[in-house]
């Protein structure tokens, strides 16, 4: 396996008025292609901050981030946006679907930035919805879907452009046990069957068990976790 993400000694300091809040204090990390990484740690430890840096929606105060051979920490805003459209699929805790668009239209959204024809876009969006097992809900609006279904639509939206990395910030944080279970199973399938590299932030040790690897973030520093390759144990 080759390295997809290289994080090299990054620091992130937030400036609020006169105060400087150091959040990440020199973190280095490598993510292999095809990995499923869980990021854990107490609230406020900087998990979201680190995930945002990998996803290219935020930039480090210092240090290098290389994804798929590109040093994204050097990109400007415009280049980053273009890069994200191609390489990153986002999954959020609150699903964040567009309420005025149907499931199909929500999934189609990232494809509007591509050169695909309307027919191709619709086909791809349908395929993505089939993968998350919502082929029969294409015309539904977010408010007509359950939380679990909404999150699956969001996952379909994240995979529809076939990105290099899926980033998920507490994807099960707002779901009940059963729906959380289904969502995690779906992520595992995407990782195993479709070989998607996934970086997931979670508070839930059970969720972390689904990942191949777990990292702990504490006081701005990383530690290798005790969970890993434990899917079978939980399932059994």
């Amino acid at each position: 396996m080759d390295t997809l993400v290289t994080i090299d000694n990054i620091r992130k300091v937030y400036k609020r008025d006169a105060f400087e809040v150091p959040v990440l204090n020199g973190i280095s990390l490598e993510v292999e292609r095809g990995d499923f990484l869980a990021l854990m740690g107490p609230s406020g430890s900087g998990k979201t901050t680190l995930l945002n840096l990998i996803a290219g929606i935020d930039r480090p105060t210092s240090g290098r981030i290389v994804v798929d051979g590109k040093e994204i920490s050097k990109f400007n805003e415009t280049a980053l946006a273009t890069w994200r459209a191609r390489h990153i699929g986002f999954i959020f805790q609150m699903y964040n679907l567009i309420p005025v668009l149907t499931a199909l239209e929500n999934v189609e959204l990232p494809l509007l930035l591509t050169k695909f024809s309307k027919k191709e876009r619709r086909e791809r969006a349908r395929t993505a919805l089939n993968i998350v097992d919502l082929g029969d809900r294409v015309g539904h609006y977010p408010r007509q879907l359950s939380g679990g279904q909404e999150q699956r639509v969001a996952i379909a939206r994240a995979i529809v452009t076939d990105p290099s990395i899926l980033v998920a910030d507490e994807p099960t944080g707002d779901l009940d046990a059963k729906n959380a279970e289904e969502t995690l199973e779906l992520l595992r399938r995407l990782n195993e069957e479709f070989e998607k590299t996934i970086v997931m932030v979670t508070h839930d040790p059970k969720a972390a068990l689904r990942a191949k690897r777990t990292l702990h973030l504490e006081k701005g520093l990383l530690a290798e976790g005790q969970y890993g390759h434990a899917v079978e144990e939980v399932a059994g």
Binding site: I57, D58, T78, A81, F92, N96, I98, P110, L113, K118
Partner: protein
């Protein structure tokens, strides 16, 4: 455009709010289109006149009449081809709502000074031969079913008499569609041979001479008891309009303040709408939508909303004035009133501008929002 669906859905995201905004916009633009079109109508000053006529009246006011003797003096000014003294009488047919523009004229002057009324020669001859004859417009004739030979009574407005007339001729003036002519002698006799009239029209040989002729005429009577003021037909109409107060300025300021008000209200609505969508905008940006695209989408949305509201109001006004006789409602002042193409264009552009101005700030703010701030909703 592949984003049309997204824009359309966002416009009607909150149905009630969209509906109220559209209603308000439609109402305001109905009003503004009306006011601007009235101004345009005044501006055009389209009397349908011949362009070679001047009119002399009292320098004091229209209510101050000029002695008949003035006509002959004016006639002798070099360059004047012919003259016709006339008197505005006014009045209504049957009901006060049915105003007519009743005027008195010496019958032998109709053809030479007012050829634009286009009267068949035989009918004109019949009018000249009948002391109580009348020339009515084809529009009035059609409206009231008048035929040659019919007896009609016009009710008084200013003068203490109700003219009893016989329709002798029908005129086909392109603009003066509620005009009725009667004979000056009949009018004079009815009010006790006053020997004065409020206007003296004159036809000139060369239009280039008009400034000199009006100066010469006014100089003639400068030191008399009845000084005059001589205008071109266009100036006369304009002066008539300003006599009713400075309507134009009033209409303009009402229009501008209406637009300013709608910009403010739209700005509030649009900021609200943009604020509700902070997270969504952040998500779109995370997905890869560039700030410029976000700006374009939002501005297009806001401009489409106000444009749609404006189109409803302007279209409504166009149809409304097509089906309503504004001439009758305004006592002939707004004869043939229509929302003209130029006003329509101006209003449509204004409607789109309202959206761009009102939605500008919220759109720029949304486009500048960073993904991280938007997702955390710190704004």
């Amino acid at each position: 455009m592949k984003f049309a669906n997204l824009i359309f859905r966002n416009i009607f995201r909150n149905k009630l709010r969209a509906f109220m905004t559209l209603l308000l916009l439609a109402a305001i633009f109905f009003l503004v289109a009306t006011l601007l079109a009235i101004n345009a109508a005044f501006e055009r000053n389209d009397t349908g006149g011949t362009g070679d006529r001047l009119v002399t009246q009292s320098a004091f006011s229209l209510a101050n009449m000029l002695p008949f003797a003035y006509e002959e003096k004016i006639r002798r000014v070099p360059g004047v081809v012919d003259t016709a003294k006339t008197q505005w009488i006014g009045g209504y047919y049957k009901d006060t709502r049915n105003n007519v523009a009743l005027m008195a004229i010496d019958p032998n002057k109709v053809e030479s000074v007012f050829p634009d009324y286009k009267i068949p020669p035989a009918e004109l001859a019949a009018f000249e031969a009948d002391r109580t004859g009348a020339i009515v417009s084809q529009e009035l004739a059609k409206r009231w079913g008048w035929k040659i030979g019919d007896r009609i009574t016009i009710k008084r407005q200013i003068f203490p008499f109700d003219p009893q007339l016989t329709v002798r001729a029908i005129h086909h003036h392109p603009v003066q569609k509620s005009a009725i002519w009667l004979q000056m002698p009949y009018f004079q006799e009815s009010i006790g041979n006053f020997g004065r009239s409020d206007m003296i029209w004159l036809k000139v040989a060369k239009t280039d001479d008009m400034p000199r002729i009006s100066q010469e005429i006014d100089a003639l009577f400068k030191n008399s008891n009845d000084p005059t003021e001589t205008y071109t037909e266009k100036e006369f109409t304009r002066q008539f309009v300003s006599m009713m107060g400075n309507v134009k300025v009033l209409f303009m300021s009402v229009s501008i303040s209406s637009i300013a008000m709608i910009v403010l209200l739209a700005a509030i609505t649009m900021s609200m709408s943009a604020r509700e969508r902070v997270t969504e905008v952040a998500v779109l940006k995370a997905i890869g939508f560039q700030p410029r695209l976000i700006l374009t989408l939002m501005l297009t949305e806001f401009a489409s909303l106000t444009l749609l509201g404006g189109l409803i109001g302007i279209g409504g006004a166009v149809l409304f004035y097509q089906s309503v006789d504004a001439g009758a409602a305004t006592q002939g002042l707004l004869e043939n009133f229509r929302i003209d193409p130029q006003t329509t264009t101006i209003c449509v552009v204004l409607a789109a501008l309202v959206g761009i101005i009102a939605g500008g700030l919220p759109s720029i703010r949304a486009s500048r929002l960073t993904v991280v701030d938007g997702l955390r909703r710190v704004v």
